[in-house]
């Protein structure tokens, strides 16, 4: 009651309080609305036919796209994770503080993180599809995405490595281990959960990406059999369904699966982050 009286005396504060609460409410409400709307419209459209092995003009099955998404995610991580972790190891464990090279690497990673995905896609199209003559192929998409997720992995790994206390390194050196042994036996194992959460973030980005893939890995909706095949991921599948404009129901169903995937990936990364906080 007392509080209320103070607010009556200060209308500015009262209005601000209302605005602050309203803003929070709008944010939360829009998130919940988006999720519930997609789930409500999509779940009734999840028919078994949408999960058949073959895609044809009568049945817009999304299973091939799901499998392609798994392929592309797997191979992108195969390229990006070692490069990203090794870069971070160099930056944290080897590089001298304030060296010119490190500065350049920092700036380029920042730049790479800011480049819009359509520019990545265009580059992949020019370099891999046209210049190297691979045509629309999974490998073109994979290499493009590798460049795209590299900054995410480098940054999170760097943070995880920096969080390892120096006493670990000193202890290991003190026992006579070399630098390499220290890195692989002591530092990486203690940083593994931080690195993992970065990798999961990268997975989320790969699964959700469309613009970088349309002109690199292409839009063929069948299951691919080799890396040189064109293949669409689930996000691209949704984009294509929408641009054809005929398959709203199938699009709802695809959106649900995408949403569930992303929520799952997100929950996993939160879970791991919590584990880090505990240890």
């Amino acid at each position: 009651m007392n509080k209320f009286k103070t607010y009556l005396k200060h209308p500015f504060s009262f209005i601000m309080l209302i605005l602050i609460c309203l803003a929070a409410l709008v944010t939360v409400a829009s998130i919940i609305f988006i999720i519930i709307y997609i789930l409500e419209k999509g779940i009734p459209n999840l028919t078994p036919e949408l999960f058949s092995i073959n895609y044809n003009s009568k049945n817009q099955s999304m299973l091939p796209s799901i499998i392609n998404t798994v392929y592309i995610t797997f191979f992108t991580l195969l390229c990006a994770v070692p490069i990203g972790i090794f870069s971070a190891i160099y930056l944290v464990e080897y590089a001298k503080r304030g060296s010119k090279l490190v500065k350049v690497i920092r700036i380029t990673t920042e730049t790479l993180a800011g480049i819009p995905s359509i520019v990545f896609g265009l580059f992949g199209f020019l370099a891999f599809v046209l210049a190297l003559g691979w045509g629309y192929s999974m490998i073109a998409g994979i290499l493009t995405l590798t460049m795209m997720v590299l900054p995410t992995i480098i940054r999170t790994t760097e943070e995880a490595l920096l969080a390892v206390p120096d006493s670990y390194r000193e202890g290991s050196f003190g026992l006579g281990a070399g630098k390499l042994r220290t890195i692989f036996k002591i530092i990486l194992p203690s940083a593994v959960s931080g690195i993992l959460s970065g990798v999961i973030l990268a997975i989320g980005r790969i699964v959700g990406e469309t613009a970088a893939l349309i002109y690199t890995s292409g839009t063929v909706a069948e299951m691919s059999t080799s890396l040189m095949d064109s293949a669409r991921t689930l996000s691209v599948h949704l984009y294509c369904l929408l641009s054809e404009g005929l398959f709203t129901n199938q699009a709802y169903a695809t959106a649900v699966i995408l949403l569930v995937l992303v929520v799952g990936i997100n929950a996993l990364s939160n879970f791991i982050a919590k584990k880090i906080a505990k240890t």
Binding site: Y37, F86, T108, I154, S235
Partner: protein, 284 residues
């Protein structure tokens, strides 16, 4: 032997670290080498300030797209930033702990929803509403601004919240002790003190809004003409590339790559602003 291994691995790590330099260099070379000659051929002024985009008759003016990208981004900032900052204030200073545990993961979830899902949602929910309210096609600057405003929320909220929390408590307590109300202390001392962090969040979200493609292409209308009202359909730089790349050849294709050059330059400017701000903050 082991010494050799050490040296070998050190070089391997170094090479991996250089890959990101290589990646940026290669991207720049490909985009600029393919795009800049096209700008030369079309003519710099005709390309940047030309108001007609008619590839079939050889007119390549991207001014309408530049304007559209700026309008849409500005709209997103107008919608997203105030809501974002106020939500961040709520999260940092008002939110009960239990509620926080519920809201925070939701906001992170908002950040990870794929843009194509956002676009789809907007297409089936926001577009019809705007259609009814304004009696237009429903696809245009306003719709795109709303969509991007929602999409940049998590970036604005997370950076603002972190920098509001980083402001020393004595600022807030000092203001309270001087007799200011809680809201006044927050908005007149704490938020201004967190300004540079909030600014860097805004710049990050400008980058995201300018670069967004698949969501915008679904709901912006895509007419390559100068917009004359808030509801008119527009085509942004990004949508121009994604829409026409599939069938473009010759000068038309080069003009699209040149569009990417312009986009790239925009993003570089935004990045530079961002790193200047961050460095300034570090100095403080």
């Amino acid at each position: 032997m082991s010494n050799l291994k050490e040296v070998f691995m050190k070089i391997l790590f170094l090479l991996c670290a250089c890959i990101s330099i290589l990646a940026v260099a290669v991207i720049c070379i490909f985009i600029f080498a393919n795009g800049v000659p096209a700008i030369g051929e079309i003519g710099f002024m005709d390309f940047i300030f030309g108001t007609h985009w008619k590839p079939s008759s050889g007119e390549f003016g991207i001014f309408p797209m530049i304007v559209a990208s700026i309008y849409v981004t500005a709209g997103a900032i107008i919608i997203g930033v105030p809501i974002g900052i106020l939500t961040a204030v709520f999260l940092a200073k008002y939110c009960p702990k239990k509620l926080y545990k519920f809201i925070k993961p939701l906001i992170n979830l908002l950040a990870s929803i794929p843009s194509v899902v956002y676009g789809f949602f907007c297409l089936v929910v926001v577009v019809p509403v705007i259609q009814q309210l304004t009696h237009t096609s429903g696809k245009g600057i306003l719709t795109a601004s709303i969509l991007l405003g929602i999409m940049i929320l998590p970036t604005v909220i997370n950076t603002s919240e972190a920098s509001i929390r980083a402001v020393p408590d004595m600022y807030y307590e000092g203001a309270l002790a001087l007799g200011a109300t809680k809201e006044r202390s927050l908005l007149k001392t704490v938020v201004p003190a967190a300004k540079s962090g909030i600014m860097s969040g805004i710049i990050l979200s400008i980058g995201r809004a300018v670069g967004e493609t698949t969501a915008v292409v679904m709901i912006a209308g895509n007419q390559a003409v100068m917009p004359n009202s808030i509801t008119s359909g527009v085509r942004t730089l990004t949508s121009n590339i994604v829409m026409e790349m599939a069938y473009a050849t010759g000068l038309h294709r080069s003009a699209l790559i040149a569009t990417a050059v312009v986009l790239f330059v925009f993003i570089l400017i935004i990045n530079i602003c961002f790193s200047i701000l961050v460095r300034k903050k570090e100095k403080q």
